[in-house]
């Protein structure tokens, strides 16, 4: 192979490598039931500390990805708050992760809807990408060992929680 052909080959490899790196960097995660829940230490929304899903290891965690501009999120927030209060004693924590939002709007949303379950904040849509999310709201039930037990890409209501979430928790408790 001549030097010129070798250089051309290197240039083509470099371009393909660059494109591949870019695609991999932007690719959304694929997650499935049984996988470890995508977790990261995030700032507490409206607070000074940090938190993560792992902080609740040993409990069931219903992770709710939400944003203040999302209309279905407004409808499910009170349902989730009631669920959190009712099932908190039975080892279930609802954990909100605010995504694709600004913190002022997010805090106003929590005040208006009287939401009291713990909240973390993801800057931009990094957490959405980690959960392979396509929008908000999305809900993920994480078992006490930190594995995904249920993936629900949409809003939840009382009936869904009773029929889909509670049986999973009850079966393993």
């Amino acid at each position: 192979m001549s030097a010129r052909a070798f250089l051309a080959f290197l240039a083509v490899c470099a371009v393909i490598g660059l494109l591949g790196f870019g695609l991999l960097n932007k690719g959304e995660a694929k997650i499935a039931v049984g996988d470890p829940a995508p977790d990261k230490v995030l700032p507490v929304l409206g607070g000074s500390g940090q938190g993560s899903i792992a902080d609740y290891r040993g409990r069931w965690v219903l992770v709710n990805l939400w944003a203040s501009w999302c209309i279905p999120c407004r409808e499910e927030a009170p349902v989730l708050d009631r669920f959190a209060r009712r099932y908190g004693r039975r080892g279930v924590t609802v954990l909100g992760i605010n995504v694709q939002d600004n913190s002022d709007d997010a805090l106003a949303f929590l005040r208006e809807n009287d939401v009291r379950y713990p909240q973390l904040r993801s800057i931009g849509d990094e957490r959405s990408a980690a959960f392979g999310s396509t929008g908000v709201p999305e809900n993920f039930l994480v078992d006490p060992q930190g594995r995904l037990a249920l993936i629900w890409r949409g809003p939840v209501d009382g009936e869904f929680l009773r029929k889909q979430v509670v049986p999973i928790v009850a079966a393993h408790s």
Binding site: N25, S68, N102, I123, G124
Partner: protein, 151 residues
């Protein structure tokens, strides 16, 4: 005492001007994205974009300049809010790759043109000046064929 009151009054009137916004919503909108919509904020009409506009207007009203507004937006929405990639890390390739591609293409074109010109000057070389008609048997066959199709 009157003089002091007059100075205070003048300062009070001047203070809004001193604290006047250093940028405008129109100035910022064209340079930041609505990250959820995936378009420039100035083109976005969604509720998310409207919330972002409210935030930008509030930051401007607080007297922040364009750079400070952008920094605050990055803190809220992440780097994806900037319409132009940051000039560091992998994003730097957005600036480097086109520049390198342009230089490589220009050098390749210059070499190609120089080579073509050298070849065209050389007697018997390639290129338009070196083009010759057919000779011998080929010329006779061409003549016969042209005669056959001569109307």
């Amino acid at each position: 005492m009157r003089l002091l009151a007059a100075i205070v009054a003048v300062l009070a009137l001047a203070s809004p001007a001193l604290g006047a916004p250093q940028t405008s919503i129109n100035d910022v909108e064209g340079e930041v994205m609505c990250p959820i919509c995936g378009t420039l904020l100035e083109l976005a009409e969604s509720p998310q974009a409207e919330r972002e506009r409210v935030l930008v207007k509030r930051l401007i009203a607080e007297g922040r300049d364009k750079s400070e507004v952008k920094d605050a937006l990055v803190a809220q929405y992440g780097p994806a809010v900037l319409a132009l990639p940051e000039g560091k890390g992998f994003d730097l390739s957005a600036y480097l790759v086109p520049a390198i591609a342009f230089v490589v293409a220009a050098v390749a074109l210059a070499f190609g043109v120089a080579r073509w010109r050298r070849a065209s000057r050389r007697p018997g070389g390639e290129g338009p000046a070196a083009a010759k008609g057919p000779s011998g048997d080929d010329a006779e066959r061409l003549e016969r064929d042209l005669a056959r199709y001569d109307l």
